[in-house]
């Protein structure tokens, strides 16, 4: 292997990044001593490594410098005078200072404790508020989600080919309108109460399916408050027409024909 190949193999970089075994390292060191070309290339790589580290440097917190210098002093390895305050020899005067300093420290730490305690209480309060808000948000989310699901379900019924829409028109002159979505296949009945007016408080609307002129109860209902959501009614297997009457609260066994509000043929 000639020198160029040796350099190109990346072995020098590996050596300088401490990636080689002892044996391989020794070989590189020998090469370095014997070949100026290798020595120069290694200096170039070392320079690059240093520049990359400079370019990606992160400044440590200021306290680190003091700690390290303090540690070196404490380790007893030589004198480091840079920014280190020289210590006085202990004497009585120093003791007085120490006592005074301890007292001051005790006072300060009590004050700090009280402050911290207050902060803790405040933080706890904030946490509780946040938890309550969080709970509220979660509930709102659930509600919105539920509404969305309902709407999606309604929409899927309205657009479904399985469901037949039966429009029931007013039998009087008030122009009231309501619709039934009925699936003969799975016998489900959904009601859209349309423009039915709010019933008197002692009355309820009742939906009927008419088969061969005979009424079959399909359930009583209240007008939905908010939005024109579909109401799921009782299952109906067969019907020629649907109609809605106004009945006493709880509904009737037979429809009160005088109170027939809307009617529509299938």
């Amino acid at each position: 292997m000639n020198l160029q190949e040796y350099i190109a193999s990346g072995v020098l970089e590996a050596y300088l990044l401490g990636q080689l075994s002892q044996e391989e390292s020794t070989r590189v060191e020998t090469m370095r001593v014997n070949h100026t070309e290798i020595q120069q290339e290694m200096l170039r790589i070392e320079e690059s490594l240093e520049l990359i580290a400079q370019k990606t440097a992160v400044t440590p917190r200021e306290s680190v410098r003091k700690n390290i210098i303090g540690n070196i002093k404490a380790s007893g390895h030589g004198d480091v005078n840079d920014e280190v305050i020289p210590m006085n020899k202990p004497n009585n005067r120093r003791l007085t200072y120490l006592v005074a300093a301890s007292l001051a420290l005790a006072l300060v730490s009590s004050a700090v404790s009280i402050k911290l305690w207050n902060q803790l209480k405040e933080t706890e309060q904030q946490l509780n508020n946040l938890l309550a808000q969080n709970q509220q948000l979660a509930e709102n989310f659930d509600q919105a989600n539920y509404k969305l699901e309902q709407t999606n379900k309604d929409l899927s019924i309205i657009v479904s080919e399985k469901y037949q829409k039966v429009v029931m028109k007013s039998t009087g002159s008030d122009g009231a309108l309501a619709s039934v979505y009925w699936s003969q296949e799975n016998t489900n009945v959904y009601l859209s109460s349309g423009s039915l007016p709010q019933p008197p408080t002692d009355k309820q609307y009742q939906l009927w399916a008419l088969i061969d002129g005979k009424p079959v109860d399909a359930g009583v209902f209240d007008l939905p408050d908010g939005g024109n959501l579909l109401l799921e009614m009782k299952s109906i297997a067969a019907a020629d027409a649907f109609a809605i009457t106004l009945e006493p609260k709880g509904g009737s066994i037979n429809p009160t024909l005088e109170e027939l509000k809307v009617l529509g043929n299938v």
Partner: protein, 183 residues
């Protein structure tokens, strides 16, 4: 390093002062190299507290072992860089570090917050991102793992199924490219 100006002393002079344990030489050493080394350590250990601990240890090592530094075997920074890298890597492979990381991950949110800080501060810091973006994907993988995260060449070779020789040549070509950027 450039030659001496008002605030800079040549590397060989600094080494001489350090070897004589001149009281002011350590402060100079710290002021000139701590940030470079701290960046290297921080990216390997990924925690400010641990990185500070490692930085303290290595600075103390430099001061105590400066007599062992042999200028004929490389620049002062290379010597320090390898001591710093090795101690940082030893740290993350130590059992205590692993246990700490694990406890944090399971027990509380502190770890999550640290991770978030980490991604913001270290992995995405502009210097590193800028450098890495100049490399092709193959080179980036090698530099990111070996230089910035402290993997060994053999580990990268094994983990990514790349021949060891290829790992070395890619590291070389990456450093050549990076040199043009930082010089």
């Amino acid at each position: 390093m450039s030659a001496s100006s008002k605030n800079n002393i040549a590397e060989d002079q600094l080494v001489t002062l350090l070897k004589r344990q001149h009281p002011k030489s350590f402060g100079y050493l710290y002021d000139h190299y701590a940030s470079s080394l701290y960046g290297v350590i921080l990216r390997i250990v990924r925690s400010d507290d641990i990185a500070e601990e490692v930085l303290q240890d290595v600075m103390l090592t430099f001061w105590q072992k400066i007599a062992q530094y042999d200028a004929s075997r490389g620049k002062l920074f290379t010597w320090m860089l390898n001591i710093a890298r090795n101690q940082a890597i030893d740290k993350i492979r130590s059992r205590k570090y692993k246990e700490d990381q694990k406890t944090d991950a399971v027990a509380n949110n502190v770890y999550t917050i640290d991770r978030e800080r980490y991604t913001e501060q270290y992995s995405d810091d502009i210097g590193v991102r800028e450098l890495l973006s100049s490399l092709n994907e193959d080179q980036r993988l090698i530099v990111d793992h070996i230089y910035f995260r402290g993997y060994t060449q053999s580990e990268v070779a094994r983990e990514f199924n790349i021949p060891l020789g290829t790992v070395k040549t890619r590291m070389r070509s990456a450093l050549i490219k990076l040199r043009k950027l930082v010089y």
